[in-house]
Symmetry: C2
Subunit: 295 residues, 2 copies
């Protein structure tokens, strides 16, 4: 089957899981559940939860055990988008062709819905980890998610990104943003899945390298597509980085060098993952997909 179809099938499966784990819209506080579920069901590639289940499976685990972690990571990703879209941050009215959360529910509810999704992610991971064999393993997996989404991960990256708007920054700082804003969560969600699948240290190490490389490469390709991408295929405006005087891989290193770095990262990612297991067709496909998305 063509890789894009496999990806779509996996995304559909994640949609089903999200529907199952979403809070029921009832009680006095019903509005907050509606606001949470509105953004949770707004679509997207669902890459992070797919990676969680895949990491669990390739180390020989039962991917069903990792489901609460996959769902939780998508809730964390979704909360970060809701808060990112707020007027005080990116001030976006639209995301994936739909009105953003604060446009529909108001800024107050959007702030609280984001908070609620972050909190609910931990509620789901914790409540589904009680009474299991090897509880230490579950603590470790939740810890990976928590680390990767906080000030030493995703939030750290967001903060520096916000502070670097409309100014040129050195490559080291740009790497900090890319690594933390995107790659950290990729690492966290894959490590969590792998830990639930009883991965050993060597396996975790290879998975971490894969996740880090596809995460960083994903951001570099985003930078490249903002210059050479086709708006109709991407479904979003291109050229905004240059317009905003934003430092990017192409602006700092040139287009060809950026493509070369992205390709090298993807090759390394695939090497690492292929050393780990024979059942990595999907992860190989995903690595290629990330770099071949458009150009």
């Amino acid at each position: 089957m063509e890789f894009k179809l496999v990806l779509k099938e996996k995304a559909n499966y994640i949609e089903q899981l999200l529907n199952k784990y979403m809070p029921t819209e009832e009680g006095y506080q019903k509005t907050i559940m509606e606001a949470m579920n509105y953004s949770l069901s707004a679509g997207g590639k669902r890459l992070r939860p797919i990676l969680t289940l895949e990491a669990c499976k390739i180390v020989g685990g039962n991917e069903n055990d990792a489901i609460p972690f996959a769902v939780a990571i998508e809730m964390i990703h979704t909360y970060s988008l809701i808060h990112d879209d707020l007027p005080a941050l990116d001030n976006d009215d639209l995301r994936r062709g739909r009105k953003t959360n604060h446009i529909v529910y108001g800024e107050d509810m959007a702030i609280l819905a984001g908070d609620a999704l972050l909190n609910y992610a931990f509620e789901i991971m914790l409540s589904n980890s009680l009474g299991k064999e090897n509880p230490e393993k579950y603590l470790k997996a939740i810890n990976e998610i928590a680390k990767s989404s906080g000030i030493y991960g995703m939030i750290g990256g967001q903060v520096v990104d916000v502070q670097s708007e409309n100014q040129q920054i050195p490559k080291e700082k740009l790497d900090y943003i890319h690594n933390n804003k995107t790659a950290a969560i990729m690492i966290g969600c894959m490590r969590a899945g792998a830990i639930i699948g009883n991965a050993n240290e060597e396996e975790l190490d290879k998975i971490t390298k894969y996740a880090n490389n596809i995460g960083l490469s994903f951001q570099i390709v985003d930078d490249i597509l903002d210059i050479v991408g086709d708006e109709s295929k991407l479904g979003k405006k291109v050229g905004s980085d240059i317009e905003n005087n934003k430092s990017t891989y192409p602006s700092l290193l040139g287009l060809e060098k950026s493509k070369e770095i992205a390709r090298t990262l993807i090759n390394e990612a695939k090497e690492n993952i292929n050393e780990l297991s024979e059942h990595v067709d999907f992860l190989n496909g995903l690595a290629d997909y990330i770099i071949d998305r458009e150009y």
Copy 2:
């Protein structure tokens, strides 16, 4: 020693613990740590963390084991205040005589600092629970905190409170707000501490009743003080509930009936806690303090 002095001493101890667990202000993302620490060190009675340690101790546990949970609960409380103060919510410029977070760091950083504190609370609880005996116990304790601070606890209460502004609501709905906005976290922080102290189900039950009753009573007394309180002693404006046409215990049931209910709740709280242990002087004192704060 006078109860107020004991309380102050315990609050000072919590300050020390917070200082120890606060993130170090370094790295590209330094601003977010500064914003987190600014609000964390803004003072307050530190009731919630004090209750966590006390609950651990009265069931025979070592209160040091509960420290990460005490610190985490204060971080969660602090994040909720930062987000509550935002222009889209209560739009407050001052809290405890200091400028609110968004006035100092901007709305964008205040939103992210709140997110970061909620996330960091889980990071602290999780990372400090790894490698301990009986990991299941730690999962249970973190789960209590998570439940009590989400949409079936604190956030639920906040949402309904926000939606009930400038309108009369029935007592049932007011109880929902009081129970969830305040009592839920009291319950969560005490249950977490007690679980770490190896409490059995009966002990947990009594502690839950104590926490619930002092939490609800605390809110009723707040309602009462907004009518009869002395601004200079309270350190805040009174009369705002009537001004805002807010439903409160006194507005729905009258002043005397409200005082009676608060007193009954406190008496029940004390009965429950006295059945549990002989070493509950502090918790008895706290219960009385809550109701005798002012009038």
